[in-house]
Symmetry: C2
Subunit: 201 residues, 2 copies
DNA sequence: TCAATTTATTGAACGTCGCTCATAATGTCA
DNA sequence: TGACATTATGAGCGACGTTCAATAAATTGA
């Protein structure tokens, strides 16, 4: 019994040390593009050596993926929270998602990196697929609750795609401030929610 | 007069030498992810030294951008060709675009890289913005011809976004073959064209 | 024609990258 | 306390993008 407890404690300790590294990476992502963050920077920020980082992650990619998966889990959690109070409209859900992406561009950059890149280990691939499926489930649920009865799964795919596309197309709008981009992307989200709710253009 | 002609000839010669490098890069992109293509590989493939590449491009990023801009120009040209014969439906245009992306994933990867990355020189940024605007113009034209009179510009934005999102969401569909992915993404394109044409879901 | 001059090409060398691994430090327990 | 297991360390490795002095090729003018 105590043997088991000790094992758990060990694991928790290990997890918390891993979290130190993860948080250090997050702090760096807040100030610069994740693609340009180096192991040496993370190790300095976390106050550990380079080698220690490789004790917790097999490589940088898996570390980045861990950050991404955490964010994705956060989004699905937020979706659930929103839905638990009162069934949200499709528009509200779309706006929420785009708003999140505006506040967490790193998440979106990572999504595009991992979804298009493909240099992942089988284990990592599975974790990525799973979390994306979870996200999709939430969107399908919202579609169902809004009265989309036929082809709800593929419609969820289309809606999810459409939302994701907003950021790739407009995150870099020439000469616009962050606030203007937020407004523009939210407007597009509303429009897409509209057409998916069957509104005429 | 002859002075002018000579200048032009010089420029053409220089351009053709640059094209050798560009084509070498393209051949490499056909077999591997563009992010993993190195200067050394390109120089070997092109049969020139590393230094020569830097004689034609200030850095690798600008070389990649050149490839991207060429592809983008090709797409707008194809849009124009399609439209010149007979006014295409929105669905046809969307299917054409997604079909092109399926055949040219490197183009899409580069688009996401440049649109989300942002480490471009002012000159490069301007070229990127310009070609994207050209693409948008073609989409807006299609929307207008299909009867979308109000808010045609922002609707074009939304449609373009939605189409781009298809690939980021499904280019990596777990355990699917290229052919299955093509079918799925084309189906999504059709569906999105549908909702933007005002069809009920 | 041929030296002078301009232009293009070359690849060794530089600093930095992700990552490894022999070594040192720390923790565990009889 | 001493033997053993675990974790942390950072110098070193090969490869990266990029630079630049040296070299080769092309152009010019007399």
């Amino acid at each position: 019994m105590t043997k088991k407890k000790l094992e758990e404690l060990k694991q928790m300790e290990r997890d918390s040390r891993r979290k130190i590294i993860l948080d250090a990476a997050l702090e760096l992502f807040a100030v610069k593009d994740f693609r340009s963050v180096t192991v040496r920077e993370i190790s300095r920020q976390a106050g550990v050596s380079i080698g220690t980082i490789y004790n917790y992650y097999p490589n940088l990619t898996e570390l980045f993926l861990d950050v991404f998966l955490d964010s994705a889990a956060e989004i699905t959690q937020m979706f659930d929270n929103i839905s638990s109070k009162k069934t949200p409209t499709l528009e509200q859900l779309c706006e929420f998602y785009i708003s999140y992406l505006n506040d967490n561009m790193t998440f979106y950059q990572m999504m595009s990196h991992f979804m298009l890149g493909g240099e992942l280990s089988p284990d990592a691939t599975q974790k990525l697929d799973e979390i994306m499926r979870e996200l999709m489930n939430r969107i399908e649920t919202a579609l169902l609750s809004v009265g989309c009865k036929t082809n709800s799964r593929i419609t969820a795919h289309a809606l999810f795609s459409a939302l994701n596309g907003i950021m790739i197309s407009y995150a870099r709008y020439p000469g616009k401030t962050d606030e203007e981009i937020r407004r523009h992307t939210l407007r597009l989200a509303k429009m897409i929610a509209g057409v998916f709710s069957g509104k005429k253009l």
